[in-house]
């Protein structure tokens, strides 16, 4: 079980994240939702110790998570990467083996097989020799998904995986997320948009965390997506096609 206890981040000048606490069981897929600048990425980085936290702790199976990062696969936002970097698809996916191989070793049969399988699973094996800068946004996201899969991690964190991807990639993302959940992995997925099929995306989640510099609500998507919670998070009345006549407090009804 992943236990997050009162983790907070203080960047100064009011920026950061107020103490956040939650627990995630193996086989749970948890969404993190909130407007831009709500601290979704900050929270993910804080869980892994990538930004200095001002308090709290993160434990996985009773031990601090930052001491067992080999069990974690983190997929950063696509916009954080320089896609003009001289590397092919296969090279980027192969980075997954860096930690497993350890220092000084280049590759092994087992890691090569895992890398190929991961690429086939997200339909990018045919693109393996292509330079990453020549891929579409969706294909680039699948490269990172394959890298995360090849790591064979127990906890997977995806930062804004749906941003700027095509429908094919969106379908693959949902399929792979569902498979990973069935394999007993812990998934944390942040997004300010849940794909073109918002309702379908949200209903596939076991739990949703609604964030805006603090944890506004946590529970099943149905419990969290109330008009009041969304107003607190987004500061405005939430209107979306699947809300029906817009009169119900429970947006799933």
């Amino acid at each position: 079980m992943l236990e997050v206890q009162k983790v907070s981040v203080n960047y100064g000048s009011g920026q950061g994240l107020d103490p956040v606490s939650f627990k995630i069981l193996p086989g749970e897929m948890v969404g993190v939702m909130g407007p831009n600048g709500a601290g979704k990425s900050t929270m993910m980085k804080a869980l892994l110790g990538l930004v200095p936290v001002s308090g709290g702790q993160v434990r996985y199976c009773t031990c601090p998570l930052h001491q067992q990062l080999e069990k974690v696969a983190y997929v950063p936002q696509r916009s954080q990467i320089d896609w003009d970097y001289p590397a092919t698809v296969q090279t980027v996916v192969s980075l997954a083996a860096t930690r497993q191989l350890g220092w000084f070793r280049r590759s092994s049969v087992a890691t090569n097989v895992a890398i190929q399988q991961a690429m086939e699973r997200v339909n990018i094996w045919d693109l393996r020799d292509r330079r990453i800068g020549n891929l579409s946004g969706g294909q680039q996201q699948r490269v990172f998904l394959a890298r995360a899969l090849a790591q064979n991690a127990e906890i997977l964190l995806f930062d804004e995986p749906f941003t700027g991807v095509d429908a094919t990639t969106e379908d693959i993302l949902f399929r792979v997320f569902s498979e990973l959940r069935n394999e007993g992995k812990i998934l944390i997925i942040s997004s300010h948009e849940w794909g073109t099929h918002l309702a379908e995306g949200l209903t596939s989640l076991d739990r949703l965390l609604l964030l805006n510099r603090e944890l506004i609500a946590s529970g099943t998507p149905r419990e969290v997506m109330t008009r009041e919670n969304l107003r607190l998070a987004y500061g405005r009345v939430w209107t979306h096609a699947f809300h029906g006549d817009g009169k119900d407090d429970d947006l799933f009804c």
Partner: protein
């Protein structure tokens, strides 16, 4: 015709100083582009320039105390790179401004120290290098540093690849990115100090960036960029020295001008191909 060409190639080799110059410049021709590759992919091309300028205070202080000048240069240059990182991390100041401030400040400190400490440093040699005064000991020292830096890059290639491509991802899998950064900065500094006496501080950056950037235009992988960059670096060094011998040009600038001409050729070649592809796709 062939015999004339061959005799033209052999004639300079009869002088020992030319043989030494070719030896050391070929080694630097390999080393600089490999290290420069990391500067380019990290968008830190000007960092090499900063670190090259930052060696001056160290050179002056080392000369004053009678310590090996390379040690002074190394410490001073590393301090410069730490200063850039520190200013960047502690304030809103962007990296380009931090670099501009750092290198001008260190260079000013260096020039002031040379006057105050009454050093007998030859500033012209520091700025423009003098490849034709290279001794056998310089060749051994360059070979040792080249082997050290290239060996470290070979050993830590996959970790450095991860770090330079996706620093956050590398940290997330538990790679010691601070040590990787420090190691990379040390490698860059050692390369600069070694190259300095050959082509001078002002032209080090050109050899660090030029050949690797030419390779960047046509390669798909980081290690391809390193190999092709090294090849271009060696050709630039060799052709530069021959041009310098026959046309009586200063050797450092000759090497750099060959390297820049090769970039221009490759640039025109690649943009022309892209232009034709685009034109064809319109019809």
């Amino acid at each position: 015709m062939w015999s004339t060409l061959i005799s033209m190639l052999i004639e300079p080799l009869q002088s020992e100083f030319i043989r030494n110059a070719i030896g050391v410049s070929m080694m630097i021709g390999v080393l600089c582009p490999v290290v420069g590759t990391y500067l380019i992919v990290q968008r830190m091309a000007l960092m090499g320039d900063v670190m090259a300028h930052c060696v001056l205070p160290g050179l002056s202080i080392a000369a004053f105390f009678g310590v090996d000048r390379s040690i002074g240069a190394f410490v001073s240059s590393m301090l410069g790179s730490f200063f850039v990182s520190w200013v960047r991390s502690q304030s809103r100041v962007k990296v380009d401004s931090a670099m501009a401030l750092t290198f001008s400040t260190f260079f000013a400190i260096g020039v002031t120290l040379i006057t105050l400490l009454k050093n007998k440093l030859d500033l012209d040699r520091f700025l423009f290098g003098d490849i034709l005064t290279v001794t056998l000991n310089d060749i051994y020292a360059t070979a040792a540093i080249a082997m050290l830096v290239l060996g470290a890059i070979y050993l830590f290639y996959k970790e450095l690849l991860y770090y330079t491509f996706d620093a956050t991802g590398a940290e997330a899998v538990g790679l010691p990115i601070k040590w990787l950064h420090l190691g990379m900065m040390m490698g860059i500094t050692l390369t600069i100090i070694t190259s300095m006496q050959v082509v001078g501080v002002l032209l080090v950056i050109a050899l660090l960036i030029g050949p690797a950037l030419t390779a960047y235009l046509v390669t798909q992988e980081l290690h391809h960029m390193m190999f092709l960059g090294s090849g271009i670096g060696m050709v630039s060094s060799l052709v530069g020295i021959y041009l310098s011998y026959y046309l009586n040009l200063p050797s450092g600038p000759a090497i750099v001008l060959v390297s820049s001409s090769l970039f221009l050729l490759m640039f025109l070649f690649t943009t022309r191909s892209t232009f034709f592809k685009r034109t064809k796709s319109h019809y």
